[in-house]
Amino acid sequence: MKRKIASVTALALAGVLALAACSSGGTPAPAGAGASTNGKGKTITLWLVGADTPDVARQYLKDEFAKETKGTLDIQQQDWGDIVTKLTTSLPDANNTPDVTEMGNTQSPTFTNVGAFLDITNMYQELGGSKLLQGFVDAGKVDGKNYTLPYYFGSRYVFYRKDVWAKAGITTPPTTLEQFNTDVAIIAAKNPAKINNFSGFYLGGQDWRDGVSWIFANGGDIAKQSGGKWVGTLEDPNSLKGLTQLQAIYKNASKAPNDAKDSNQYIYLNDDDAIPGATPDDKATPVSLSAATIMAPGWAHWSIGVKGKTDGKVTRTWDDKTFGVFPLPGVDGKAAPVFAGGSNIGISAKSKNPGLAKTLLKIIFSKGYQELLGKNGLGPANSDYTASLGNDEFASALVTSAAASKLTPAAPGWASVEAAGVLEEFFSKIKDSTDLAALAKEYDAKLTPMLNAK
C-alpha cells in the first residue's frame, strides 16, 4: 500500500517534470544524428492502415529491410477509422512517432501543411519522379517541396448485372455518361425482375465518393485554389450540370435511402433467392437482389458472385455471364474522372532514424515491392509497374478508370470537411432540392472557410 502510494507520487512528480520539459520547446535532434543507414540493433516502426497491404508484402518489407540495414522493421496496423486521431497524437511525439506512416491521400494535405513530415524532395527523382502518380504527389506537396508520396492507388468502377440489363433490353454497356444515365433510368422503370424498390443504379444519398464523378465528368470540381485561397466551386455551371444529372439519377434510377453511405454496395447486386424464409413456403421477400448496377472500389469483385457451396460452406463465385464491369464513361466517350482512392506515405518529421526511414522508402518504391503490390490488386504508385496488375477485366477497368481519376482538393482544411460530413450532407439533399443552384451556393459558403482553416 505505502509503496504503491510512494510510486504513484513519484509518478505524478515525474509527470509534472516531464511536462515542464515538454513545454519548454522540445528538444530538436542534433543535426546529422540518425542520418545513418546502418540499422544494426535498431528498430524502426512503419504504420500501415487497414488490412489492404497483404501479408506477403509486409514480410517482403521486413526481409528486405533486415537485409539492407541489419535493422528490424516493426509494422503496426492501424484502422482507417482512428488513423487521424493516432497521427494527431503520435506524430508530434518524438519518442512514440512511427518513423514511416501510410495515410489516406485525402488526409495527407492536412498533416503536410502543419509540418508533420520530413522534406524528401531530394529523394523524389530517385524514388520514381515523374513516373509517380502525379495527383497523389501533389497531395503531399507544400510550397513545391515533397513531403509524402503515393503508396498505392485504387479506383472505382461500375459493376452491373448483365442478365438484368439484358432483360430490360439493353445488351451493350453505355459509352457515354449521358447514355449511362438514360440506361439506368430505363432499367429502374422496367424493373424486369419485379422486385420492390429496385434500383437501376444504386447510389446512396450520402455517397459523394461515387456521386462526385458526375461533377468531375462535366468539368466541375469541389473547390479550386485562386490567389492562394481555396474556394468552393459547387455552384459553377459545370458542377451544376453534373448535379442536375445526379438529381435525375437519385429521382429516377436509384432507390437507395438518402442517408446511405459508400459501404458494402455489393450486397445489392448479389442474388439470394435460394435462401429459404422462416417457413418453407415463405414468399414474402424471396430475393435480396436490389440493384442492376452499382459503383464501388475494385476489390468489391471479391464479394460479388453466384452463390454456391464448396465443402459445405456457402461461397460466391464471379460469373461472366451474370456480372460485368466497365469504367464509368465520361461525357466524351472516354473514361469519366472518378474519385481517386489510395494512400500516401511519408517519414515523420520527428523520426529519430531518418536515414533508416529513407532506406525503407527506397525499398517501398523498388521494382520488387511495386510489382508485389500490383500482383495483389493494389495499383502501384509508379506507372512503370502498372502491368503487374495483370490483364483481366478488373485490372483493365482499374487502370482505365484510375488514369482519369481525380483527387479531392489538397486544402489544409480538407480533413475537417470530411470529419464534419459536409459533402455527405450536401449530396443527401440533392434529390429533394427544388433549387440546385441555391443549394450549391449554400454549401460553397460552408466549404470555403473550412478549406482554408489550418
Binding site: 486521431t85 435511402p257 435480396s288 480533413a415 470530411e418 460530413g421 443527401s428 489550418k454
Partner: protein, 316 residues
C-alpha cells in the same frame, strides 16, 4: 445473486446514514483520502487544467505540432454562444437526455416491480436476461442494434412487414426524429438493467407488509405505491436518476456508432459527437475544449437543485 446484491449496495449507499460521526479533529480522514485524491490528481489533474487552458487558446493541428498557441481569452466561448448550431445541439442533447433518462427510470421501476410480483422462475429468467444485456460490450451491442434496424435486412422491418405494415425497406436512421427514437431505445435497453436492479434492491428494503398492501391492484394500489413505497426508495431513485442524467447528457459511443451506420451527422449531433467532430475530426481543440467545459457547467446547473437536496439528506 449478484443482481440482488448490487441492488442492496445501491440502496444502502443512498440511505442517509444517520450515524453519529466521529467529531474529533484528526488527520486520519485526510490520510484516508490520499490514495483516491492522488490518483484523481494524477490522472485527471493535468487533462483538466489542459482543457481549461486550451479552451482559451486558438489551438488547432498546427499548435499540436509545436506552433505557439495564441491566447484568445473567451473568444471560443463567444464563438459558441453566438453560434445557433451550438444551441440547437444543446437543446437536442437536453431533450434526448430527459427522454432517455425519463424512460429508463419509468421502465426500470416497472421492471423492478415486475420482479417483485412475478413468480420465482420468471423473476430469475428476467434477472438473467437483464444481466446478459448488461454484460454485452457497447461496441458489440451497437453492432447488433444497427443490424436489427438495418433498412434492408433488419429484423425490425421484417417483423413489421410481416404484420402487414408498410415497413419494407423503411430507413429508420434517415429522419432525425426516428434516429433519436432508435437511439433512445438502445440507450434505454442498455441502462435499464442497472436501474432495475438498483430499484429492486431498494424495494427489498421496504417492509413486506407495506409492499403487500401496495400491490399494484387498481388505483388504490397505485396510490399507495406513490404515497408509501416511493418515499422509502426515494434515495435510490434520486441517485440513479442523477447518474442517468449525467450519463445520458454526455452520451457518445451509441450516437457515434449509429451515425456511422446512417443519418446525416449535422442533423443528429449531440454534445458528445459534436465535441468529437470539432476536436478529433476538425482538429479545433480550442473550440472542442470550450464545448467540454460548457457541458460540465451545463450538467452542474441541471443537477444543482438535485445535488443540493441530496447533500442535505447526507448532512442530516
Amino acid at each position: 445473486m449478484t443482481a440482488e446484491t448490487t441492488i442492496q449496495g445501491a440502496a444502502l449507499s443512498i440511505a442517509p446514514s444517520g450515524q453519529p460521526r466521529r467529531r474529533r479533529r484528526s488527520i486520519t480522514p485526510y490520510l484516508l483520502l490520499v490514495p483516491a485524491t492522488g490518483i484523481l490528481v494524477l490522472a485527471m489533474g493535468y487533462p483538466l487544467v489542459w482543457q481549461v487552458i486550451t479552451s482559451m487558446q486558438q489551438f488547432g493541428l498546427a499548435q499540436q505540432f509545436g506552433q505557439p498557441a495564441p491566447f484568445v481569452g473567451f473568444a471560443n466561448y463567444i464563438t459558441l454562444a453566438t453560434d445557433p448550431y451550438m444551441w440547437t445541439v444543446i437543446a437536442r442533447s437536453i431533450a434526448f437526455c430527459f427522454a432517455a433518462a425519463g424512460l429508463t427510470m419509468l421502465i426500470g421501476v416497472l421492471v423492478a416491480l415486475l420482479m417483485q410480483v412475478a413468480p420465482r422462475g420468471v423473476r430469475i429468467a428476467l434477472q438473467i436476461s437483464l444481466l446478459l444485456a448488461w454484460a454485452m460490450p457497447v461496441v458489440a451491442a451497437m453492432t447488433v442494434w444497427n443490424w436489427l434496424f438495418n433498412w434492408r435486412s433488419g429484423v425490425v422491418n421484417w417483423l413489421l412487414t410481416r404484420l402487414g405494415l408498410p415497413f419494407d425497406g423503411h430507413n429508420w436512421l434517415q429522419d432525425p426524429l426516428s434516429f433519436y427514437a432508435v437511439a433512445v431505445i438502445i440507450v434505454v435497453w442498455m441502462s435499464v438493467p442497472f436501474v432495475a436492479f438498483s430499484i429492486y434492491a431498494g424495494l427489498t428494503q421496504v417492509p413486506d407488509e407495506v409492499l403487500e398492501a401496495a400491490q399494484m391492484d387498481g388505483a388504490r394500489g397505485a396510490q399507495r405505491f406513490w404515497n408509501i413505497v416511493v418515499p422509502i426508495i426515494r434515495p435510490v431513485l434520486a441517485i440513479v436518476l442523477l447518474l442517468q442524467v449525467i450519463w445520458d447528457l454526455r452520451v457518445f459511443t451509441q450516437i457515434k456508432l449509429l451515425q456511422d451506420a446512417g443519418s446525416i451527422a449535422s442533423e443528429t449531433n449531440l454534445l458528445g459527437t459534436y465535441i468529437y467532430q470539432l476536436g478529433t475530426g476538425s482538429s479545433n481543440f480550442g473550440l472542442a475544449s470550450a464545448v467540454s467545459i460548457f457541458v460540465l457547467i451545463l450538467t452542474i446547473v441541471i443537477s444543482a437543485a438535485y445535488v443540493r437536496s441530496m447533500l442535505k439528506a447526507d448532512e442530516s
